[in-house]
Amino acid sequence: MMRAAFLLLMLPALIACAGILKITPVSSAEKERIIKRCEAPFLKNRWRLVHLISGTLPGGANASMIGVSVASPQGGGIRCILMSIEGFVFLDADYDGALVIKRGIGPFESESFVKGVIRDISLMLFRPGGEAAETGSSGEGPVCRYRSDGGVTEALMKDDGSVEIRAYDASLNLMRLVAFKKLRHDGIPGRIELTGYGLLRYSLELDLIEAERLD
């Protein structure tokens, strides 16, 4: 019993240290099919998305807010607003290569904090940069691996039809885990779950309220 409890407690740490997946190559036709599925949850056009965001923050506090984002995958521009359910805006930020905080209250005054928010949004909405460097099958399902100077990102197809993103730093430590669920017919996920690892652990659940294509 104690052992089971210990294993449960250690599970997040074990996942964080598990390392990148071992990929077995597949035929080029199968490779193309996998890449298409890997990139299914990411935006292909400019969209306005409204989410209910519920999160467990570092330290264990729970928080809920509404997030509005206008995201353009071509160029990676993001306008992001976070507000309370009562409509009080905590953050209004614009990122288009450079970050502009139009309104930031409390922790959202900090540029480095908001840069982290924008990084997380980019990870959830945009396909990883560059071409899929390795594509194939793994013990956990078909997978695409993208490499950049900052680290490695893997998109993994799960048996239940959902897609999982694992983002590692340059030392291959798992930094973010993103699960896309309830994919709609237009490819927009009805639910996104993000877990941040590292020194400050947190988790976010984004439930889609509204989605509007803008181009």
């Binding site: 209910l52 506090a61 729970n62 509005v68 607003i81 009080f88 805006v89």
Partner: protein, 204 residues
């Protein structure tokens, strides 16, 4: 014939009631006096969030309950199910997602405590309670609250409260964060002085 008399009677009573309400909301004393007759309020509300980033406002709906002296339940039913409770000075927020109920324990709840305390004071007809805002009474039962400090004005430019023609009732609240970002709360189907069970302010 009886029907016509009943209709006439109703019309006369409406005229009399309207006459009684003329003058309500013209002075701070009248507002406080009107609010003093209120022991509870139950109202539906529609919240419109207007922002430059949105092509149409984000609409939320729910029910608002107030019980004197200072109990509130601010319940959103769509698009998000959220319940904000204030009772005996403590403030709690719950979010319902499917069958799951999650309590918000973030630092933002401290700010909500201040906001809800202000709303309780407004329900009592006291618009001077928060020293951070200068209240102004305008013709047509409109109260404007303007921040005294620039630091507050950078967050909230002004609040406009429109009073109903029913004494003690607020018809709408308009909160301007900037010229292009504001929240409108519009109250309807107001029930006054009905018995609201305490349990409604204690939990979800």
């Amino acid at each position: 014939m009886n029907n016509i008399i009943r209709k006439l009677g109703r019309l006369i009573s409406i005229v009399f009631l309207s006459a009684a309400f003329i003058g309500w909301g013209d002075t701070w004393d009248q507002i406080k006096k009107g609010a003093g007759t209120i022991s509870s309020v139950e109202a539906r509300f529609v919240q419109e969030k207007h922002m430059e980033i949105l092509s149409r406002p984000l609409i939320s709906r729910g029910t608002f309950y107030f019980q004197a002296p200072k109990s509130l339940r601010w319940e959103y039913t769509s698009p998000v199910r959220s319940i904000l409770l204030m009772h005996d000075g403590s403030v709690k927020r719950y979010i319902k997602k499917g069958d799951t109920i999650m309590q918000d324990s973030s630092a933002g709840m401290q700010a909500m405590q201040v906001v809800l305390s202000d709303i309780v004071q407004w329900m009592k007809g006291d618009f001077n309670a928060n020293p951070g805002f200068i209240p102004e009474l305008k013709p047509g039962r409109v109260i404007i609250l303007t921040p005294r400090d620039k630091s507050v004005a950078d967050i909230i430019q002004r609040i406009e409260l429109r009073l109903s023609n029913k004494p003690g009732v607020i018809r709408s609240v308009l909160i301007y964060e900037s010229k292009k970002s504001y929240t409108l709360l519009d109250f309807s189907r107001v029930k006054l002085n009905a018995r609201i069970p305490d349990s409604l302010f204690l939990g979800v």
